[in-house]
């Protein structure tokens, strides 16, 4: 059951330029959350009405805690970055569908602020996965944590660490093979991942993003083009916040 509740901030620190790592006491939201789902964070400033969708980087169901790693993208996330331990923030969740573990050898791709949700997935998969992370430069946030639970490959735009180029360049350079692919990142990266999955002939699951208003499937703002007619409207528009954010790559047009 989704709910919107005030949550206590337990910790909030900058782990790379404009990237914040926040832990919150999210009680029931955390207890029910699955990796790949997201929460909506609300601004205290009433002039910013819409919640900000933020992926789940970590879920501690026993303690009822969530870890949210987000980038400052505007005034709303800049406000969240200023929160400190003891502050409260309104949170709605858990939202969306989440990733499914098929018990197969997986390759995970994360690009930029699409990296955080892959950490909880990497930790939860039964079989140790391969993880390919794409960064702009040498600020490789979370990479050391991935290394504890996965075999990590890195791509950077400036070539300062790992393969110079994108995550697909890194995967091809290393000749990576797997039985299932999961990815989260910018749309051009997801296109590359979809094509890579088709080359390998393996099921590919991508987590998508779009401007959202309600976060629960009512407003029809965050749709993506789908191959099959969607259940809700009977056209070809799946709701990212409801049927997604995770889709089988063949289901959606990118």
């Amino acid at each position: 059951m989704k709910k919107k509740i005030p949550c206590r901030v337990l910790e909030n620190k900058e782990i790379a330029k404009d990237i914040f790592d926040m832990r919150i006491d999210a009680k029931d939201i955390a207890k029910e959350a699955k990796c790949g789902q997201f929460v909506a964070l609300y601004s205290k400033d009433k002039s910013r009405m819409l919640p900000r969708p933020i992926s789940l980087c970590g879920i501690d169901r026993e303690k009822g805690e969530l870890r949210l790693v987000f980038r400052i993208a505007g005034a709303g996330t800049a406000e969240f970055a200023k929160l400190t331990a003891g502050d409260d923030i309104e949170v709605m969740g858990p939202l969306g569908n989440g990733f499914t573990d098929f018990g197969k050898k997986a390759i995970l791709f994360g690009g930029g602020i699409g990296i955080p949700p892959m950490l909880e997935l990497a930790k939860s998969l039964k079989e140790r996965p391969i993880v390919v992370l794409g960064y702009r430069d040498a600020e490789n946030f979370l990479a050391d944590e991935f290394a504890k639970v996965a075999d990590v490959y890195i791509a950077t735009d400036d070539g300062s660490v790992g393969t110079k180029g994108n995550v697909i360049d890194a995967a091809k350079a290393a000749g990576l093979k797997g039985e299932v692919i999961y990815a989260c990142g910018p749309t051009p990266m997801l296109r590359g991942v979809k094509a890579f999955g088709e080359e390998l002939c393996v099921p590919t699951y991508i987590s998508m993003e779009e401007k959202m208003a309600c976060g629960i499937g009512a407003c029809l703002a965050c749709v993506c083009k789908s191959k099959e007619t969607d259940e809700h409207t009977n056209v070809h528009n799946k709701r990212i916040c409801k049927e997604g954010p995770v889709f089988e790559a063949g289901e959606v047009e990118l």
């Binding site: 309600c214 809700h232 409207t233 009977n234 528009n237």
Partner: protein, 301 residues
């Protein structure tokens, strides 16, 4: 015991608080947060004769104290709506106002005829959507067209007909009077105000549609003024909406003469807001020793 019920075009509402079309789906998504049977009415997302895919994304953008939207009336069409959405609402004892959209008079009438034998309480005819190229606002800005489409819908409708008016006109009382002349049983106002936002980093429009409808508290003073003007220009009941986010806002519209109010964008900021507004109105009446909500409707002249 305080009376919260109002009469709207012959339909008794439990209270005057409804949802604004397009912000609440057909109630299913918000029923996880609020008991939709406790609402004055659920006003559904606009429904057309066939499914509409809507506009390209991005479809929304946040602005100060509000948002722009250009969803483009994505909807499942009347067949699936009758099969799925109406039963969902009736099983939960919700009072239902169906919002009807179309590109042509024939399309509006087709939907209204399909709804004639459905357990629907009220019809809201959307002649004011700024985000579809034909129909929508094209009807809503011309008084003659408003009167004609109202008459055409009324000729086939079995439920009371509420015409939803556009604020994107010089004088809203002209279109309001035209709807009344066409036989409307009531009016809903305001729909969104056409607006725009530019993303200076991408150097492009924030919305794929370039323009979108502005909603939220940013438009409340404009909406309240138009509701007050309209209430004083027609004899049929007016449903007030535009930026209502709390009980105080709702009370302003009721005091200006609205028989009921609709809450839209505020649902996105707070999914519990409709219940908070109903309770807040009741608290206000209690505190001021008013036993009947109807005593405050139109009390500010």
């Amino acid at each position: 015991m305080i009376n919260m019920s109002v009469d709207l075009a012959g339909v008794t509402l439990k209270n005057p608080v409804m949802t604004a079309s397009g912000t609440f789906g057909s109630g299913a998504e918000y029923n996880e947060f609020v008991d939709i049977s406790k609402l004055g009415a659920v006003v559904t997302k606009g429904v057309a004769n066939v499914p509409w895919p809507g506009n390209p994304t991005p479809r929304i953008a946040e602005v100060s104290s509000g948002m722009l939207n250009a969803i483009g009336l994505q909807n499942p069409g009347i067949d699936l709506f009758c099969k799925r959405d109406i039963p969902y609402l009736t099983e939960r004892n919700a009072t239902i106002m169906v919002n009807v959209c179309g590109h042509t008079t024939e399309e509006y009438v087709e939907v209204v005829e399909r709804l004639a034998n459905e357990p629907v309480d009220l019809l809201e005819i959307n002649i004011s959507c700024p985000n579809v190229k034909e129909g929508g606002i094209a009807f809503g800005q011309n008084p003659k067209a408003v009167e004609a489409i109202t008459a055409a819908v009324k000729a086939k409708a079995k439920q009371p007909v509420i015409m939803k008016l556009s604020p994107n006109v010089t004088d809203i009382t002209e279109t309001a009077k035209a709807a009344e002349a066409g036989g409307a049983d009531g009016l809903s106002l305001i729909n969104t105000l056409t607006g725009m936002k530019i993303d200076i980093n991408k150097r492009t429009f924030a919305l794929a549609n370039k323009t979108g409808g502005l909603s939220g508290p940013a438009i409340k003073p404009v909406a309240l003024r138009m509701v007050y003007q309209t209430v004083n220009a027609v004899r049929i009941p007016v449903i007030g909406m535009g930026g209502i986010a709390n009980a105080q806002d709702a009370l302003e519209f009721l005091m200006a003469g609205a028989k009921a109010v609709s809450i839209g964008t505020a649902n996105f900021a707070n999914p519990y807001v409709t219940m908070e507004v109903i309770n807040g109105i009741e608290d206000y009446l209690k505190k001021n020793n008013i036993s009947d909500i109807n005593d405050i409707i139109g009390c500010v002249k």
